[in-house]
Amino acid sequence: MTDPLALLGDWLLNLLAQLNLPPGLRQVILYLLGVSVIATVALVITIFNTWLERKIAARIQDRLGPNRVGPWGLLQPIADAIKMLTKEDTTPAAADKVAYNIAPILAVVSVLLIWAVIPFTSQWFGTQLNVAVLYIAAVGSFGVLAVLMAGWSSNNKYALLGAFRAVSQLISYEVPLFLSLLIPVLLARSMDISVIVEKQATLLEMYVVAAPLAALLFFISSVAEVGRTPFDLLEAESEIVAGYHIEYSGFKFGMFQAGEFMHTFTIAALTALLFLGGWQGPGVAQAPILGLFYFMGKSFAVYFVTMWMRSTLPRIRIDHMQALNWKILVPIALTLLMLTPIVDYFTKDLGVLFSAFGGALTLSWRFAALLLTNILVTLAAIEAVRRNAKRNFVERSRFPERPVARPPREEAA
């Protein structure tokens, strides 16, 4: 099976060769095309996802969702964009003009840049970096900066307060995020995402088998990083003034929104790549293009979970949000990170534990030991949380009874 994109690339190369350009410039043009394609794909997926998300949320809540514009409401996102264009472009008089206008752009850039290192199949990817995992983490810090800039430059107390809360949430959850990212890097001995995917060749070699807890930590902290339900306290539209983007309107506000939607799918894709084997699947070696379907299937499966969470879970309280991070996620991640290298070091040469279906299901001693470690850490963590909750409950029951408002007793006349 020939790769259609490779054919297209060859044709383009030939076309460029006929133009007699210097080789450096030719490369730049080729890169420019590739970059535009990737960025467009990311945006198109995002636009489609806004529709998908509304549709699925509607189904979960027993509604129909958008169904007027186009077949099944598919053109709804375009109608939304046109609506946004007719809004007024305002910059508050007291705002810091430059920072105010750069912030929404930076918010999208910080997400879009992640797509440069995402491999769609074994052949289709933007580029291979040997520091890709850290690159993803680094790019995310522009998002934090964008939030802070937006909140500060709006010159609005609520925006600034929202930005502070948002930033403290973002940076807090970056700690378990980075710690759990370290585990696939440790297992693959590489920061290159393509290498990490290649190492997860069969079903039981996926890192979700060897490090299920790390996968869970990564998923939870990235959802918090995006600021989606149940971690959407920075927006909380039903309770408080909108967060750092309160002064934004029209397309500038739309950019924050688009960045959030894109980020949600991006974290789903990253979870699929780092823990679920990305483009790996049966028959990929013969026809690499199949990898695209596997990758997209896994990404949308994870994305569906985020949508599911969004339509079912209630919002977390801010002190609980911080406590969940610092008192549960980070200690678990640190424990896991201390045990994983030790177990890995002593079991890496032990070989295969069992093999079935002609090698399609192969579990090595190493992965079995790691899985066992994960299960033990999970059980220990659950027990610790349970005991703590029990102690807190006992302490709370020792409080004096709180005054309760009672209806005035009817006096005998």
Binding site: A93, P104, Y345
Partner: protein, 118 residues
């Protein structure tokens, strides 16, 4: 290697243009009927009172502080994880000790009550 960074560089430019373009178009074609009142800051229907730079509680700084320390320590661990296959037992132990010291810092902050959102 150089080339993949050229790709990233071009990506940064294009990624900047992608969101900037609709915003600029919007700025040109979007309606603009602005009055001084409209451009005022909106704070819950009241006129703005006092300075915008209200002071924040120190808790925000403490979270940022713990984050900074963890951030720097974690980046030390990435080359260690990549080089894991080439490490002797001592090297592995050094990394684990490093993580243990990191956990110590968290433990101190916890005991001190710095992790409470009050």
């Amino acid at each position: 290697m150089h080339n993949s960074w050229l790709f990233i560089g071009i990506f940064i430019l294009v990624a900047g243009v992608f969101p900037a373009l609709p915003i600029i178009l919007f700025h040109i074609f979007g309606p603009k009927r602005q009055t001084p009142e409209k451009l005022e800051t909106y704070e819950c229907g009241m006129e703005t009172v006092g300075q915008t730079w209200v002071q924040f509680k120190v808790q925000y700084y403490i979270y940022a502080l713990i984050f900074l320390v963890f951030d720097v320590e974690i980046i030390f661990l990435y080359p260690w994880a990549v080089a894991f296959d080439k490490l002797p037992l001592l090297g592995v132990a050094a990394g684990v000790l490093f993580i243990f010291l990191l956990a110590d810092g968290l433990w101190y902050a916890w005991q001190k009550g710095a992790l409470e959102w009050s």
